[in-house]
Symmetry: C2
Subunit: 249 residues, 2 copies
């Protein structure tokens, strides 16, 4: 880190915040932002570091500014299922409840814009613009969770991998790092193990399906973490999506 934790630098001001237009504060007015600015603080987490633990009182809520956070549930015998993958602007934490029902772990280097839980919840009650945006975001997450239920319950391993790649591809495209005309290339933010946890598979099956998709020409692997999509339609097809998905193409 290049500066003391509480020292303000340019990127710490909400006005220049990279997620100002998409995070929970999107609809907040100038003076609402001012109030949030008093409350907020930043913290960074190293890859693998725990951000919050299931069932344990958590005294903050906040937004992902940089990096990727995994939410997951673990059964008594160790079986684990990831239930959310949070990217910049996503909101972390369970308002109106002391403890989250899942673990939150930093997958990459993560930077969080955090608020003390109780004070944020109090502010929420007085600030309809915050509440509205939060409702909107939770509705989107609920939709995403339901898409994921379809994937977990009904898709084949191959379709699961393809769908995952689609989601990452779209995230990347939104992030503006769009490549040349002839294909989208991006880095996978998570390990094979994390993918397996996310997709309800084992590491081995994940690996095998990567190999299959590569052999079939749906993806090109520069190395294990760098994927290129030469033909987006082929990926859509492999994912078992009705070819609605012009989101990028």
């Amino acid at each position: 880190m290049q500066h003391a934790p509480n020292q303000l630098v340019a990127r710490d001001r909400c006005a220049t915040c990279p997620i100002r237009e998409r995070a929970v504060c999107t609809y907040s007015s100038e003076d609402e932002i001012a109030r949030l600015e008093q409350l907020k603080y930043y913290r960074t987490f190293a890859p693998g570091q725990e951000i919050a633990a299931a069932g344990e009182t958590t005294n903050f809520l906040g937004s992902v500014v940089e990096g990727v956070v995994a939410l997951s549930k673990t059964m008594a015998d160790g079986r684990r299922q990831m239930v959310g993958l949070m990217f910049p602007s996503d909101f972390i934490g369970r308002p109106m409840r002391e403890a989250p029902p899942y673990d939150a772990v930093a997958v990459t280097q993560v930077r969080l814009c955090m608020f003390p839980r109780q004070r944020f919840e109090a502010l929420l009650l007085q600030t309809p613009s915050l509440e509205r945006r939060l409702l909107e975001m939770m509705l989107d997450e609920l939709d995403a969770a339901r898409d994921w239920m379809l994937l977990l319950g009904r898709k084949t391993a191959r379709e699961k991998i393809a769908t995952f790649l689609l989601i990452i591809a779209r995230r990347v495209a939104l992030g503006g790092k769009r490549d040349g005309v002839d294909g989208l290339e991006f880095e996978l933010p998570i390990t094979r193990e994390a993918m397996a946890d996310y997709l309800g598979l084992t590491i081995e099956t994940v690996s095998r399906q990567f190999t299959n998709l590569r052999k079939d020409g749906v993806i090109v692997l520069r190395d294990a973490r760098h994927v290129r999509i030469p033909d987006f339609a082929a990926l859509l097809d492999a994912a078992g999506e009705d070819a609605d998905g012009g989101v990028i193409a």
Copy 2:
């Protein structure tokens, strides 16, 4: 039906509404209720009847008053996954979006308290108490969806069935129909096929696991639709839950 659709009867008044204390209107004041009362209308649906279709503009939102509604997604080739099972007081519809991303179908005879979508959304913007309750309900649904992701991704067929029975048992217990000390008995609100869609299984596997649980004494079947739980702890165990779940026991 015993009365004309728009004729007010006792059960149509919000004050005596069976879900007044749990639905989206829970936090609404007397005059907010009055406004809702002007907007609302009731409709009943027969088992199997479609309430809303994925991707099609839907001009209402509302609460389940009686009966059970299934939300599900279907892939192009017919594979189907249920993504929600809605009971009385649950909220149906996707605020802030024209069309829902899933189908909604009446599973039993259903009675809905409905609001015209646009007028409800307008009211929502002016009524923090509605918005707060809706946020709370969506957060709960998100938690439930994530529990379901764990089930779909990691549980065995036997655990899936046991978990489903647990959920129904808890719903029933909340509904107050608690039985004698030596066991809880209830009626399954949905067919084997709907269970299969919910649990990411086939009908045959559902049927076989019912048989297994019966042979193991975890459940007693009066007939295919009536289940008795002689030993709640055994069911908890079969569901693979950490024995937290004192919710009933």
